[in-house]
């Protein structure tokens, strides 16, 4: 899929992007830990780092449970002057796709064993959240946490 115009910041050589393969539930914990480490490394507050880790857990466990796996991309967003502006999560899978996106984003809706707030919960933890899903082909979720979006969170 082509790049999103909302992303203006190219990766900085000093901060490495990560692609984490998700093949099963064990990878979910690893991904969440990596996301938290990256957020903390990039200077996010601890509250923000926990939000990112938990959102990562939601997205990757969806892939592990519903899509038979996929890949999580973690990418620092860095301004031209080197300032870290955010952290992007991208979850891509070639699973069955989500038939009704609106329904999947509704609180309380769940196809399987979840509490029904996985995706809406993850979107509330992040500042930007978008899903593209094609039934039969897969799902791509992109979410961004901006570093300075919530000054009150910074510690």
């Amino acid at each position: 899929m082509p790049g999103d115009p909302s992303l203006h910041a190219p990766p900085h050589p000093g901060h490495c992007s990560l692609a984490i393969p998700i093949t099963g539930e064990r990878d979910v914990m690893h991904a969440a830990r990596k996301a938290r480490q990256m957020a903390e490394h990039l200077g996010f507050s601890r509250a923000q780092a926990y939000h990112v880790a938990t959102a990562t857990s939601e997205l990757t466990s969806n892939m592990a449970v519903h899509a038979g796996g996929g890949t999580l991309h973690l990418r620092p967003l860095i301004d031209t002057d080197g300032t870290v502006t955010g952290l992007e999560l991208k979850a891509e899978d070639q699973g069955p796709g989500i038939a009704d996106l609106e329904l999947a984003m509704t609180d309380g809706y769940s196809t399987a064993r979840r509490l029904g707030c996985g995706l809406p919960g993850a979107s509330r933890l992040m500042d930007e959240f978008s899903i593209r899903s094609t039934p039969g082909q897969g799902t791509r979720i992109k979410a961004i946490k901006w570093r300075h979006s919530r000054p009150a969170d910074r510690s």
């Binding site: 099963g24 539930e25 064990r26 979910v28 914990m29 969440a32 830990r33 938290r36 601890r46 509250a47 780092a49 926990y50 939000h51 880790a53 938990t54 857990s57 939601e58 466990s61 449970v65 609180d107 064993r113 979840r114 509490l115 029904g116 707030c117 996985g118 809406p120 919960g121 993850a122 509330r124 933890l125």
Partner: protein, 130 residues
């Protein structure tokens, strides 16, 4: 990984040390519920101090387990939710954890004890209380 269930007289203690896979979560639920029935536990303290990430699935497992244990007739307290985990849970959605909570295991046990005494359960023999 099987979560050990410790028994202190008729109170059960469990400490979840890391995120559980689906199978582990189901195993944990059935182990705990069976154990509660087996010893006719009066209270259960579930310690989650070690969890950094409580996503909607873990929240559901914890809630469901607490509900099952209550259905059997035991009191439940969730202990040690970290501040940042609490902030994250509320940001994700309200009412993710519906069970009663305590700062730590010690306070959780006190809470259980008070509950058990309050409901007049004289079977509680954990100490010299009258």
């Amino acid at each position: 990984m099987r979560i050990p269930i410790l028994r202190l007289d008729r109170i059960l203690l469990v400490s979840i040390q890391e995120d559980l896979t689906d199978d582990e979560a189901m195993q944990f639920q059935s182990d705990l519920v069976n154990r509660v029935a087996e010893v006719e536990a009066l209270g259960v303290a579930v310690d989650i101090t070690a969890l950094d990430v409580v996503d909607s699935y873990m929240a559901r497992v914890i809630n469901d387990t607490a509900s099952m244990v209550r259905l059997l007739g035991a009191e439940v307290v969730i202990c040690g939710i970290q501040p940042f985990v609490a902030m994250t849970l509320i940001e994700m959605g309200r009412d993710l954890i519906g069970a009663d909570c305590a700062f730590n295991l010690e306070q959780g046990l006190e809470m259980l004890r008070a509950r058990i005494v309050h409901r007049g359960d004289t079977r509680f023999t954990g100490d010299e209380d009258d």
